[in-house]
């Protein structure tokens, strides 16, 4: 992507420097409101990684971000900016929730859970394929349509919950709970089964599913012809057409895979935690996925690492707003904003300067020889 930078610097140094700059900028803000940045960062790190419970929450948040981050990256490799992860995740949760409500009373878990996964992926896929079709064959810009589809998705969910799925007589806008067979084992239950003590948390076995999805995305993009065709289209649609690839098909396929990945968010939130359909189970994760994908350089490994970072920000941020007096939740949102700004939107602002610096460092020994 960046001709001036060596690969290692592009992959590791630049993101690290961007993160450091974001933290410094946030530190200045923290100091300006009269808090001690060092203390805040200490509390944040301890909150995110310092205990079994904190670490579990970090990974629980990260699971959702891995799904939405992968969704953004697959579309990105096909040259598409999928802003609709939010809506696709909502629809995925809806799909998983519907099959759970219908079948969980009589199907065993080993049928029920794969069925929920499949339904979630299919719903997310279908919801993303429509903007994909509109882009490929009708020329409607994918960024606009996917944003619109986010609103449609959340309105659809509200409508279904309020008018059709709410338990009669209940004040809470949520569906009836699923039967036990539609619940993914929590991580502490899973580990207890293996003889390891772990403190209870929402972290559940969908983390493994997320890591498996990352592996599958890696294999798809770099080891299959389908991924080759998809990346060729994303890098140069005209060259792809020359190579006998139909770019329109690629757009729809990439959006389908992207939507399916976003649709799997329901496995973490619905099958893993709430055990029922409710509002707000995605709560912005679709958008965080964009930042995660940008920061992770659209590579599955980078996305997993970036997801853990953002999971830590969410978890550690909650601890900070709890522990540090006068430090509100909004300050944490601001910190996240800085990271998105520096690692995402302005990811390459520092690149030219860094390239010059590295070049100067390399040529210095040679200069010394001449001198």
């Amino acid at each position: 992507m960046n001709a001036g930078l060596p690969r290692w610097a592009d992959l590791f140094l630049l993101p690290a420097v961007n993160l450091a700059v974001a933290l410094m900028a946030a530190g200045v803000m923290v100091a300006l409101v009269g808090q001690d940045p060092a203390e805040v960062i200490q509390v944040l790190i301890r909150g995110a990684f310092g205990s079994q419970r904190g670490l579990s929450y970090t990974l629980y948040y990260a699971t959702t971000f891995i799904f939405t981050g992968l969704a953004v990256s697959v579309a990105f490799h096909a040259g598409l900016f999928n802003i609709g992860g939010e809506g696709q995740a909502i629809l995925g949760g809806l799909g998983a929730g519907l099959v759970a409500l219908w079948f969980s009373s009589f199907l065993p878990a080993w049928v029920m859970l794969p069925l929920m996964l499949l339904a979630g992926a299919l719903f997310g896929m279908a919801w993303a394929a429509v903007p994909g079709y509109l882009q490929a064959y009708r020329g409607s810009h994918i960024v606009i349509t996917t944003i619109m589809f986010n609103f449609l998705a959340s309105s659809l969910l509200v409508y279904l919950l309020v008018n059709h799925m709410k338990v009669p007589g209940s004040m809470a806008v949520e569906s009836a709970p699923f039967a036990e067979s539609a619940k993914l084992p929590r991580m502490h239950e899973f580990l207890a089964g293996m003889g390891v003590q772990w403190s209870a948390s929402p972290l559940n076995t969908s983390l493994f599913l997320a890591l498996l999805a990352a592996l599958c995305v890696y294999l798809l993009l770099w080891h299959t012809r389908a991924g080759y065709n998809l990346r060729a289209t994303g890098s140069s649609a005209s060259a792809a057409a020359y190579a006998g690839i139909n770019p329109k098909h690629q757009v729809i396929m990439a959006m389908g895979v992207s939507g399916a990945l976003a649709g799997m968010v329901g496995m973490n939130e619905i099958a893993g935690v709430t055990g029922r359909l409710m509002l707000e189970y995605v709560s912005g994760a679709g958008f965080t996925g964009i930042a995660v994908a940008l920061m992770g350089r659209n590579h599955p490994v980078g996305i997993v690492v970036a997801s853990i970072l953002f999971g830590a920000l969410f978890q550690g941020g909650a601890e900070v707003s709890f522990d540090v007096k006068g430090f509100s939740r909004d300050m944490v949102v601001m910190l996240q904003g800085f990271i998105v700004l520096f690692s995402g939107a302005m990811a390459y602002v520092l690149a030219p300067g860094m390239a010059r610096l590295l070049a100067a460092m390399r040529s210095k020994p040679r200069g010394a020889v001449h001198g």
Binding site: A3, H223, R225, Y228, R231, S236, A239, Y242, A243, G244
Partner: protein, 500 residues
Amino acid sequence: MTGIHKRFGAVQANADVHLSVAEGTVHGIVGENGAGKSTLMSVLYGFYSCDSGSIQVSGKPATIRNSHEAIALGIGMVHQHFMLVDTLSALENVMLGAEPHVLLHKAEAQVRGKLAGLMESTGLRVDLDALVADLSVGDRQRLEILKTLYRGARILILDEPTAVLTPQETEQLFGVLALLRDNGTTILLITHKLKEVMRLCDFVTVMRGGRVVQEVAIADTSIESLAEAMVGRKVQMGRQGEATQAPGAVLLKTRGVVVRDVLQVVRLHGLDIELRAGEIVGIAGVSGNGQSEVLEVLSGLLAPSGGAMEVGGASFHAGAWLDPRKARALGVAHVPEDRHERAMVMSFQAWESAVLGYQWLASYCRQGWMDHSHMVGATVDMMDRFDVRPRNAHLMSASFSGGNQQKLVLARELGQAPTVLLVGQPTRGVDIGAIEFIYSQLRSMRDAGCAVLVVSSELDEILALADRVIVMNQGRISGELPIAECTEARLGMLMIGGAA
């Protein structure tokens, strides 16, 4: 310009370059791609600043930090790709950015008066009220020159000015340039066409590898010795022998192929073409007269709105045309005109670009899984056979020079033993050393019984390669000649739609 150094990363684009141009002369700068001509001119015109070295204009030291300062010093540049606004008139283009009055109608009147004088003294005539979009390419170039002269240029830099002109338009341009020189304008001509250098220039500077290797008066040199200085060894250009065999069976045949663009404008009016085994057919014509459409429709990239085609034992007609994948399966290989847009994916590694279009081959992919080691191995093979440098299959496609990219594309397309080979601009942006090699490869494909179609905007290239020449004008075949009957003048007449 004295001791100019310019380095981009690891590349020394200009090393200790000295260039002195006498006032009122035409000075040619020749060299292969990447020899540093463009960098040097960009330093002079203020696009880049040099790392070290100095520039003197008319005896006075000058610092040129941007094009405004260059213009202020009387240096004007006519780019290869014209810098004109299509939707404005010729007059408006001239005064754009240099309006002499805040009120437009007053400004226009002033500019018009000044231009009338300029046109009178230079012979550069352009209809000032026509929209640029309606002007011919030759007119646009005259307008560009007028524009720079209007801004007070006394030193005129021309970057590959004849690349888009017919032989007749080139003649006209040279007449104008000679007149400008006689009026005291200094002209710097960047080109790789040595014939033109010999015709027009007074002095010539040859660059190679970022250095000046020769600076001579035209009277003391020849095309051969200039070519040798450019490449660093003797080069054999031009035709080498006639076709070794009479053309064989018809391998590709079209009837009445009509192509319309998105605006429903007809780009090809009923194309009838026959390609035979063991023959190189050249398509000549000024760029944009339907040659690109011929390549795209024959290779399946473009679906025609009428007509039919027979190739590889299958027949196709409008509405059920072949696609590029099908075309490759039938033995039609295609080296596209545009390397950057079509032939390669610039952000892919070399081996990924080297399988582009052939990713469906069973040897590359089994059940949809790509066999990386086999693909990389095949790429290393291609690089060996066609001497692609550097021999690194994992380097980014964009990091190769134009010549090496083209060699890799040719290796890919020639490698699967095609029966029909379509080649667009085989040597665009390719240096002389590689041109020789590419020509010999295309000739050996012909000798092996392949039907070869070459589209080129360089007449010399058509004359060097083709056994039969088709000339196109405005989407029609305006003439067809065996190579023995081709002269530049006859082809030039056909190119502008006249009778040969």
